[in-house]
Symmetry: C2
Subunit: 598 residues, 2 copies
């Protein structure tokens, strides 16, 4: 590499100033990168002084060397290298930890581009980043092992792991790891809802290997259908692509497949073009039902015009190796349809490790690990869970209503004055975010107005509530509680949040910055995790995308597609994948998709 110092220096410049990348790509690719900019700044408030601390420590000495001055590093074990884990690692800057990362995959996958991989719009390798690349740029002592955690022993603060690499080494493949803090970010797996035949006959789209398999299978379907010794009926069967589940993944795959057929198959497999059929099965009344109605309508209309057969209210009951059986929700009729390939994308369920751990800790009947608002697994101070394997079990106001009242009633008079209440409003709103949502939904300006309303328009400043009146005023508040969606955006924000907590753990032990404890004294160490929804895309094919942005702003069409390109380029975790993804897009525009069956 001696001769290429210029390249080396350039690359180091890109790697050292990741913010540079955001700015350049956003301004180069599109002028519409508003969201990208917004999210890039999401945690900047915190990042500011982290970067400063970082600079200070790295002036001294690096990694292990610098730690020798500190008595003993706390050991953090991180399970998983998905969005949550990657985001935690990227944002962790405090060198007083020793971090051990364990995952069966030694890379991070940019999952929102998985559907693009299925038909060759983007290459699989362009959306993965080796986790060791991320680690080695940090001044924190981080190590990685390609292994899967098979059991968690919270009593002894120990986990048991199994190596997943299938090298030929004989002997001990299992090992135990101790931890001071355990961070569980292993993600989820596909949920088949125990439908017979799904495991054996369907494709999924969770991992990068899934996307590669689908791509190979799509190409093979066209090759198979082009063989000389087939009847038209057989060709129709082979080229019948069925997608189960009208969520963003299913819809995007349908759109990718349609584009592939329309842009490339017509040229390369012209004789079988006419036999292609795409069917989208959705159990509810609409596809994309988590989106705004305008988007749903547009998507259904576009798919109708494209000839994609959208079957709403259609439940899959069984799949054998030739036919897929569906039951119409309306009349209960069962239909059997021959198919060539099925993609199953209906939802997620817990992985075996999480199922087992939930049983162990008495959460056996849940669908994901329950955590508190600080992402700690309920009942365990040193175990955190985030991303798709966990849900935040937001506390209900009504559960704590007596404690809140007691805390607010400083003079212990048995009634709350407005003044007393105002002193504690901020803490309530921070601890129970549903309060704010409820006020918004009722279009009430602030909580005092709500109390006044409960009292029935009494004199302005002089209202006083007893505990029963207080309860009745807030009785409907908890109806606004919602679980966060299982998206990359949530996992990403949770990882950054948690890293920030770890970065400032010592500082916040001394000067807690969270809301007051209603069931104890003092304050919580940290602000609770709060999700900032930055919008969501649904690519619909033909260079058109639907975007639902914060504040109910909906945009559909070619301009959103450019916004999509811009955001997805800017959100890449490294300059390397950014360059690869953008060049893949350009390559596809110029040369079309690669249809080699590898």
């Amino acid at each position: 590499m001696r001769s290429f110092n210029l390249f080396g220096r350039l690359s180091r410049a890109f790697q050292d100033y990741p913010s540079l990348s955001r700015i350049i790509v956003v301004s180069t690719i599109s002028g519409g990168g508003l969201i990208a900019y917004a999210e890039a700044n999401a945690y900047n408030g915190n990042r500011g002084h982290i970067a400063h601390a970082d600079a200070m420590t790295s002036n001294g000495a690096h990694g292990i060397a610098s730690s020798e001055a500190v008595p003993k590093k706390k050991k953090v074990v991180l399970l998983g290298t998905g969005w949550a884990g990657m985001s935690f690692l990227k944002n962790l800057n405090n060198p007083s930890y020793e971090v051990e990362v364990l995952s069966p995959r030694n890379f991070f996958v940019f999952t929102p581009l998985l559907p693009s991989v299925t038909c060759g719009k983007v290459e699989a390798r362009s959306i993965v980043e080796p986790i060791r690349n991320i680690i080695r740029k940090k001044n924190v002592d981080i190590s990685f092992s390609e292994a899967e955690c098979v059991k968690i022993d919270p009593q002894n603060k120990k986990i048991y792991c199994r190596a997943t690499v299938n090298s030929k080494l004989k002997g001990e493949e299992e090992f135990a790891v101790d931890y001071d803090y355990l961070i569980i970010a292993v993600g989820a797996q596909v949920n088949t809802f125990n439908t017979p035949g799904v495991e054996q006959n369907c494709h999924f789209l969770k991992e990068v290997e899934d996307a590669q398999k689908i791509r190979k299978n799509v190409i093979e379907s066209f090759e198979k259908a082009s063989l000389p010794n087939l009847s038209d009926e057989e060709r129709e069967k082979i080229l019948h692509f069925v997608i189960v589940g009208g969520g963003p993944t299913g819809v995007e795959f349908a759109a990718e497949l349609y584009d592939f057929v329309n842009e490339d198959v017509v040229k390369l497999y012209p004789k079988v073009r006419e036999f292609v059929k795409i069917t989208l099965l959705e159990a509810t009344d609409h596809i994309l039902n988590m989106f705004d109605k305008r988007i749903t309508n547009f998507a259904e209309g576009k798919f109708g015009r494209d000839g994609i057969d959208v079957k709403l209210g259609s439940m899959v009951t069984k799949i054998n190796d030739n036919e897929i059986s569906t039951k119409a929700r309306g009349n209960g009729n069962t239909t059997n349809t021959p198919y060539g390939m099925v993609l199953w994308s209906t939802g997620i369920g817990p992985r075996p490790l999480i199922k087992e751990f939930m049983k162990q800790i008495g959460q056996g009947n849940r669908r994901a690990l329950a955590t508190d608002e600080w992402l700690r697994v309920e009942g365990f101070d040193t175990i955190y869970a985030l991303g798709d394997c966990a849900t935040i079990n937001q506390r209900k106001v009504m559960e704590d209503i007596s404690e809140i009242f007691k805390k607010a009633d400083k003079d212990e008079s048995g009634t709350l004055t407005v003044k007393e209440f105002q002193e504690i409003i901020d803490d309530i709103c921070e601890r129970y975010p549903q309060v704010e949502l409820y006020l918004k939904s009722k279009q009430v300006r602030n909580i005092v107005d709500l109390l006044k309303e409960a009292k029935g328009d009494a004199a302005k400043e002089s209202i006083e509530l007893n505990i029963e009146e207080f309860k009745s005023a807030l009785s409907q508040v908890d109806s606004q509680m919602k679980n966060l969606p299982a998206t990359a955006q949530v996992a990403n924000q949770q990882g950054a949040y948690l890293a920030n907590c770890f970065n400032r753990m010592e500082e916040c032990e001394k000067n807690p910055e969270g809301p007051a404890r209603f069931r104890g004294t003092g304050r919580h160490r940290f602000h609770p995790f709060r999700y900032r929804h930055l919008g969501q895309f649904a690519p619909l094919g033909g260079e058109q995308t639907a975007a639902q942005l914060p504040g109910d702003w909906v945009s559909i069409g070619h301009s959103s597609q450019w916004l999509w390109y811009s955001v997805y380029a800017s959100k890449q975790v490294s300059w390397r994948t950014r360059a690869l993804v953008v060049s893949d897009w350009v390559r596809r525009f110029i040369f079309g998709r690669d249809t080699s069956g590898i």
Copy 2:
């Protein structure tokens, strides 16, 4: 694609003028692209008027439409989409054929870059080109089926095929195809020389999937060795990479692996760097023994300095899943060495189809199909074989010596005069290329001098030879016969040669252009195939390459590396792969190799 007409137009311009690509890339990447230019012109003499004929037919009508005027198209069946097959398809321009291509792979692989794929210098997808992309640009009626030929029936001019795509379709998977001309270009497979355990425990490097598997396995070895619960001994075993065979493939893989360890592993897996060991086993006295001695010496010296353990005179006798057993040729001692991964690259043997076919036609004890100098399988006028599955069975002068004498002796005097002989010299030299090689080796100016020498310096123009004297003059000539090497270069030139024959079949039936028939009357239709060696590269790692060019010109070092880049970029079969390969090289300079285990 509506919005991207500019891209479309640009891309079409590139596709329509492939020569443009050569010129631009060669001049952009390096000034040293002499060879690239030379080979690009290799068949230009013939191509000139092909291009002209092409333009004429495509002015009229395209593909099938234009064929309706012609009575019936001859059906050409081509087996294989490797170098020979691809080159045939690219150069075929006569629309009077109907071509059916059959291959288990729907893509062409640029095999010289396979070793680059093993450690991530180049991506697998960058070196493959869908065969349908090549086909659709032709004005010849060509179809492709992803199927493998399992039996050839030359009596009935029929072959039997089996579909290789593993789609779920039930029923008839086999089908028969009739042919007028059959072109066999199926390549060869790895030869294990029946060494026990090779099939089960070794990697090969023939297909693009092999390279992908090796890459995954290399990464997994480093991940495995990084696990916490291992002894140093175990780490050493896992990271012991053994390469069997010191030919260009084995040497290039060793060099790639060394570069990978040196440039990327040190950064990403610093703790296990010290355990890496690379061993190269070669049964003969030197590695790269088909190259000039200067290259062999340089390579052995460089590998020695790099710490690659080159074991010469070392035969592999057995491989089990833990150890590789070798026997030293000198003392016959057997050594067992633990290993992590073995690459077996010792040579090639025939595929089952070829073995079976050779048995059928009485060539059962050969290692490849024997063809005549026009690439026709011996004894079959309508079956051609080229590339690695065939060897040209060059006729010996001594076999035909009486016929040559008879033909030359026009006045049937029983003796040959110089004048008589001179009339037939060109035909002899064309038909028996060994004559020219022999003259060169004896440093004799021309064949007449050879005859004079046999006669013992007789008077200048008046020599006359009888048959015995003629025989003795030419008795040593056949010693110069050599089989062509099984390289991409040979296959590529053979494919182009054969396409050219097919392009001008009708024309040459009427006006044969080949040498005179010694065992018959008239002339052969075509010139026999003649290989033009354009040089060979052996990349040795560290941005150094050895190049052996025609005329015994040897170049070793960084400049040859740039020549290598330039030639390999210019030799890509499409603008698409050219762009991908070049961008892969650039990416590696900037970002290093991708170590994701996918």
